[in-house]
Symmetry: C2
Subunit: 272 residues, 2 copies
DNA sequence: TCAAAAGTGTTCAGGATACACCCATGT
DNA sequence: ACATGGGTGTATCCTGAACACTTTTGA
């Protein structure tokens, strides 16, 4: 595996990997803040630091599938939304002189899905506002910042928020998500009109009782047929999720060894 | 260079390259349509087909710089705007079994800059609406479609249009660009108010006379300090362009041989 | 019956649209 | 003088923000 000296490595074809920024709502803090899982690096460089989950790219998968799979094998999460964020490269990423390119996806998981996940030693959820004091590997801090910025600015009514909050929700819950994400205060009456007016919310018929006051109607998100939103996004829902899961599992059985290397994003270039 | 059989190649790390979709206004058609340069492939696969200009990624350059450089070495164009579009990968791109990832940028050049370019045998400009009848390599047809869609939808007033039309322009010219890009009809009086109101247009003092009617005031585009637009975009202007040019030229002198391989995007994997 | 949240109505300001109109110029 | 495009004014519509208000529930 050893490459030659640094100037020789500059000529090498770059390594490529996928990484994923997974965002969810922190269920503990009641006023809704975002948090995300990071994995602890078990190799140099940045040994012991926290990094985005990631993995390799394989020729027989889509990039999005590779990202999805990397996520599964490292965190057991099944995101309901996955979209390519950006490809990162350049000289400052070339640790040890070998060029490194990461194709970064961002994912959203609902609170229910995030609950699935049993916290392991080397994977942990961090609230957004506690990242500052953390040792973060590579340029992953910037990448996370970029993902958060994207979430806040590219937020299109009401799909993104619906994916974060879970399959069903009251309008107040959805409202809370918006306020948490944008950091602004939104007039609740206007908010509900806007949401309902989008034609993408459907009443489930249920109501949620949670206090000595009028119960709230429960809605679900139903995407409209038009409005393609982001063409290369990868909204996983219902049958498509099942299909993808099956496919990923089949592959995983065949070569578990490969899949387990998921957490070692970028590690190949550092076995010096 | 030879790899083993197909199943062995599946395990190889993917090849990575940059490609660029360069968009400009066709000066011939007076009602303003878009066109773009493509390069003819001189190797298998898709020998003789037309492909996006592209090149390799080097560890000592930014991805954007790699794209810029690939563009220079293949087409002599100096785009005034360069932004990452998307990274493409996946099984359908694995010609010969070797995984291939392309990081695609899109670029805008003004009519003046497009004029610099002397048309060579293996590089030619094609109007947007003549692509259908063309033999296009790889999935570059889809990529072009995606870039055009992005141009049409992500158009933010008035920066993008200003970059297409050139350094100075009349409001009618700018108006024409908008209509050409969006394919819609825009009320001219309202358009001019909106543009002027944006505070990003500055009168040059010149006027353009071109008929037996009142001459039009000539404007230039002046970006405002706030409004960061796209964080990872790469707007090249003035001093930054010069600096980049110098750096690229210095590198090019040192290893011209490498730079000249720019047009052979993806070709490495096909030397069977 | 009262607190608390669900949900509705109404007003208002600012922006976008549509289009009528005047202004400057070359022939 | 008149045709042609440059440029301005203005009525109207629509959306979003602000906020007063009514309704429904549990205690």
């Amino acid at each position: 595996m050893g490459y030659g000296n640094v100037s020789e490595r500059l000529k090498q074809p770059p390594q490529v990997g996928v990484s994923v920024v997974i965002l969810a709502l922190d269920p503990d803090s009641e006023h809704g803040r975002l948090w995300l899982p990071l994995v602890r690096r078990v190799r140099q460089p940045f040994l012991g630091c926290w990094a985005l989950p990631g993995g390799d790219i394989r020729a027989d998968r889509t990039l999005a599938q590779s990202a999805y799979e990397a996520l599964e094998s490292t965190t057991d999460l099944h995101p309901s939304y996955l979209e390519q964020l950006h490809a990162f490269g350049g000289p400052d990423r070339s640790h040890g002189g070998l060029p490194m390119v990461s194709i970064v996806y961002w994912a959203l998981v609902g609170q229910a899905e995030a609950g699935d996940f049993a916290e392991a030693d080397n994977v942990r959820w961090f609230p957004e506002d506690e990242l500052a004091s953390l040792d973060i590997a590579f340029d992953h801090r910037e990448i996370i910042a970029y993902a958060l910025d994207r979430l806040r600015t590219r937020i299109e009514y009401p799909d993104i928020a619906a994916k974060l909050v879970g399959p069903t929700f009251t309008l107040r819950q959805l409202h809370g998500v918006y306020e948490a994400i944008t950091g602004t205060v939104l007039d609740l009456p206007n908010f509900r009109r806007k949401m309902l007016g989008s034609g993408e919310l459907e009443e489930t018929g249920d109501v949620l009782r949670e206090g000595r006051h009028r119960p709230a109607a429960v809605y679900r998100y139903v995407p409209r047929k038009d409005a393609p939103a982001h063409p290369y996004a990868y909204a996983i829902s219902g049958s498509r999720l099942a299909e993808l899961d099956a496919r990923v599992r089949a592959i995983a059985q065949r070569d578990t060894a490969d899949a387990e290397r998921g957490a070692d994003d970028l590690s190949a270039l550092t076995t010096e």
